[in-house]
Amino acid sequence: MPAVSMTVNGKAVTADVDIRTLLVQFLRENLRLTGTHVGCDTSQCGACVVHLDGIAVKSCTTLAVQAEGCTVLTIEGLAAPNGPLHPMQEAFREHHGLQCGFCTPGMVMTAVDMVRRKGNELDEKTIRHELDGNLCRCTGYHNIVKAIAAGARAMKGA
């Protein structure tokens, strides 16, 4: 079994893994970071989105060994430990951008990446388009769109 090393949420981790291990399995099963979810097997639902070297990726479509030497950020590491929530997390709560919560970590990670690429002023059309790779079955997206717009603005001040 090959060893894989990476930095996850600021911590260096090393483990021996079956070569077939996906990044999402590595996070969930080896590191017990279960906030990253698996909602499909065709790379479409986005529940598994994490940041790999600062960029949003689907961790269900990335082998753990591909993240060798990389920096990974998951929902658990978005806010500083014991610090305040990340503005995007706060916005999802404030605007009721979640119901069952299962898609939420992927939504939040996608939203933060969206702001990185598109800036702090996001209109509805842009947000809806950018959410192409994230499925939610509960909210009808209405409040997710509102939450992301507000979270993006709040990130400007943060």
């Binding site: 090959p2 070569i19 077939r20 996906l22 097997d41 065709t42 790379s43 479409q44 986005g46 989105v49 960029i55 949003a56 990726v57 689907k58 269900c60 479509t61 990335t62 082998l63 060994v65 591909q66 060798e68 996608t110 990446d113 969206m114 690429r117 950018e130 192409d132 790779g133 994230n134």
Partner: protein, 264 residues
């Protein structure tokens, strides 16, 4: 996923050697076509050759009248590249329509072209612009490259290193999505470069992307939607599935071609 051996070469030569030695091997670029297939156990390469640590395979460069894009360049980089946006905006548009943002962060132009999914977007641009595929061995013209569904002219130990797109005076891509997968139900790429006029279609062909020569002929007089007004494409040989019959796809080809011409 079935078990496989994993290799991480740092040069194209190493990768070629690994490919040559291992007939069961597949190249792992962005992995967004390959890994899902492996996860569903629909494919079982005995070895994966990860291209991600090879230096120099990624990048966008304007070389004379051509835009040269490294094989490992991600869709997202092409979509947002200022160079592409200025030199060949239709290509940036197309790259921005592939998959979703996270997919575009990983998926690569070389991977997409080598995979030659009949519903992928890039083959329409390669064919629609008359691009040249540069490999570890040679240069292959677009018209010679695609050999039917998931088949290309690539030899077993040949690796795409770059794709060179000639700059077109006018070009545009129009895509009608298969609503579930986001792939092209029909995508039409049109371009005009001097006398070279191209109309390339993806998504619709039962054996992959193809050119619509009747449209191209008609457009020689004038590169305008009016020139193909009322023209249709026969439905024979086109895909039909739960997302659209061959007739519907044939109809969309004409509609999207006109729209692309209007946008070009």
């Amino acid at each position: 996923m079935y078990a496989f051996t994993y290799h991480r070469p740092t040069t194209v030569r190493q990768a070629v050697n690994l490919l040559a030695k291992n007939s069961e091997a597949k190249l792992l670029a962005g992995g967004h076509s390959l890994i899902p297939v492996m996860k569903l156990r629909l494919g079982s390469p005995g070895a994966l050759i990860d291209m991600n640590k090879i230096e120099g395979l990624s990048g966008i460069e304007l070389k004379g009248r051509s835009l040269v894009i490294g094989a490992m360049t991600r869709h997202g980089e092409v979509a947002t590249s200022q160079v592409v946006k200025e030199a060949l905006p239709a290509l940036a548009d197309l790259a921005g329509m592939i998959g979703d943002p996270a997919v575009r962060h990983r998926g690569t132009i070389g991977g997409a072209i080598a995979h030659n999914d009949p519903s992928a977007d890039y083959p329409a641009a390669v064919l629609g612009l008359g691009a040249t595929i540069i490999t570890s061995k040679r240069r292959i013209e677009a018209d010679e490259f695609f050999k039917g569904m998931f088949e290309t002219a690539l030899e077993p130990d040949e690796i795409i290193t770059k794709v060179s797109f000639p700059l077109a005076k006018k070009a545009a891509y129009q895509k009608f999505k298969q609503p579930a997968s986001g792939f092209a139900l029909v995508g039409v790429f049109v371009s005009k470069r001097g006398a070279d006029i191209r109309v390339a279609v993806t998504g619709a062909g039962a054996s992959g992307a193809f050119r619509v020569t009747a449209f191209e002929e008609a457009l020689k007089k004038r590169f305008s939607p009016k020139s193909i007004e009322g023209m249709t494409v026969p439905a024979t040989g086109l895909n039909g599935d739960i997302h659209g019959s061959a007739e519907y796809r044939a109809h969309l080809i004409a509609v999207l071609a006109r729209r692309a011409l209007a946008a070009a």
